[in-house]
Subunit: 320 residues, 2 copies
């Protein structure tokens, strides 16, 4: 959550001459996204986000991410539109980094989503899944079962330093989730990280989805599971089934869920909880002194995981 | 250079109802200023900066800072204007911090100032000194000679760990500068921190001065000395006398300098170099693990200090 790569104004003005987006009026480094350097530009033509892609984003994935945003925006989804330069290219380099200029999206993310926000995000997620259907590029989900195993292998020995008993519990979880992980559910392009800070609203109205830098091809229902975890738990740890119902009902009105997808939800939500538990655990155990980002509590996701593990079926999510 | 205090959108919207500045469209945490949390707000009426004052700014100084900006903006100086709420107050509280909404200033700061930028800043500084003349509040410069002594006392023992011989050199400098520090030069409101990141331009045109949170009452010529250090040295350490001349000539066209002020410049510039050397030394020796700001090199200012010490008169600054 910070600017990593400084860009001086002369360099920036030279860079912007490659675009037809007017003259630079103002530039502010913004605290948006944890992976990249982001600047909010005001030009005589409007607002733009300038993103410099830092190490954690692989350059080989950028055509997928930028192409996906273009594809989705072209199909009417409220998401940032990469701006092409005069040469027709959206991806170029600045200050030694891959860089892109992206249209500014109005709206404010909500820290404490209300029921109406959960419904709006359910609908937008289904629209994303439908709009992504014909996108031609593919990207494997590096953070699915195989990725979790690799990540866990690098944390396992020290897991109990974070919470006593965590190692045994994660050994068991990972084994069981991997064994039961579904293979034959509908697949497509998923956002994979649709947390409240990646969704903008004005009032109750959803104005945009941002941060497609974990997007990939995977089970569509897994994306719903990520959202149930991110949107429907209360700060006290309780699952709010009214929010779950709002999210799922709105989703199903746009893209109906099969019986198999519904039945798989508890396992998928458990897997989604494990995924964020593991990346948070990794970040927790590998804090860089002087780092700009304070790691998030991995145990929040252990509690979510346990909730899903205890369910006998998807009804607990508020299904009607 | 970071957002320290998070503000959630519901809290922010309640806060903004105290102002007549329209509906919130967008909010971004921005990396501006090292002392405070800053957010760039877009509302249906325009752009604003929301500042939450963190610990390093004393709440008792805020009426001086905000009042000064109002005073200067009212006299036509290009500086941020604090926005008064419906109750007539500019200063209130948000998220447990003193907070203010301030008008957005267009423009971009230049990392490598050119001669024309130095002239523009010289002129603006003189305008600031004239416009500040009738401001009624007063604030002692906490970072003048007495403040340097205090700061140095807390660093002295470890000075040689940064650079061998630094302690002896600073002992001597502080003694000599304190002994010779002028007392009878014209005083008034000074900015005291007018570095390139605190000045906005559009092209060659200066559009605003920002960050008045070190402003205080002190020798006006000391403020010029701060600017000579901040604007007229090249990245290789050399003093660019053409830039010095541009800055001083432009200043003198708006506010003439007395013979005594000119004669004092080398000593004032030496003191100004010592001031930034000492705060940087302190920050260098007191790095907080996990801090959001990387400290700046104190030795840059040792080299500047030595340059001024070696001068026989102010002519070396490019005076005509």
């Amino acid at each position: 959550m910070a600017v990593y790569t400084p860009v001086d104004e002369a360099q920036l003005e030279r860079f912007l001459r490659q675009y037809a987006i007017g003259e630079l009026v103002s530039v502010k480094g913004i605290a948006e996204g944890v992976e990249n350097s982001n600047y909010l530009l005001q030009t005589t033509k409007g607002g733009y986000i300038l993103t410099l892609y830092e190490k954690r984003v692989h350059a080989r994935d950028l055509p997928f991410f930028l192409g996906l945003m273009q594809h989705l925006a072209g199909r009417g989804l409220a998401c940032p539109l990469p701006v092409k330069g005069r040469d027709g290219q959206a991806l170029r380099r600045l200050a030694g980094r891959p860089a892109a200029v992206i249209g500014f999206l109005a709206g404010v993310s909500v820290m404490r989503p209300r029921i109406s926000h959960c419904a709006a995000v359910g609908q937008a997620l289904a629209q994303l899944h439908l709009a992504g259907a014909e996108f031609s590029l593919r990207r494997v989900n590096a953070l699915s079962v195989a990725g979790w195993k690799k990540l866990y292998a690098s944390c396992r020995r020290r897991a109990d330093t974070v919470w006593d008993g965590l190692q045994a519990e994660l050994d068991m979880e990972l084994r069981e989730i991997a064994r039961r992980w579904p293979k034959d559910l509908p697949q497509g392009v998923i956002h994979a990280d649709l947390f409240p800070d990646n969704v903008f609203f004005r009032g109750e109205q959803l104005t945009g989805l941002i941060d497609f830098y974990f997007a990939c091809n995977d089970l569509l229902a897994y994306d719903i599971a990520v959202c149930l975890n991110a949107w429907c738990f209360e700060p006290d740890g309780g699952f709010n089934a009214t929010k779950g119902r709002a999210l799922l009902s709105a989703y199903r009105k746009t893209r109906p869920l099969s019986v198999a997808e519904l039945a798989a939800l508890p396992l998928l939500a458990r897997g989604a909880a494990l995924r964020f538990l593991l990346t948070r655990l990794y970040d927790w155990l590998n804090q860089v002194p002087g780092a700009l980002v304070r790691p998030k509590d991995p145990l929040e996701y252990l509690h979510k995981l346990r909730f899903h593990r205890g369910l006998s079926g998807p009804e607990a999510y508020g299904l009607t």
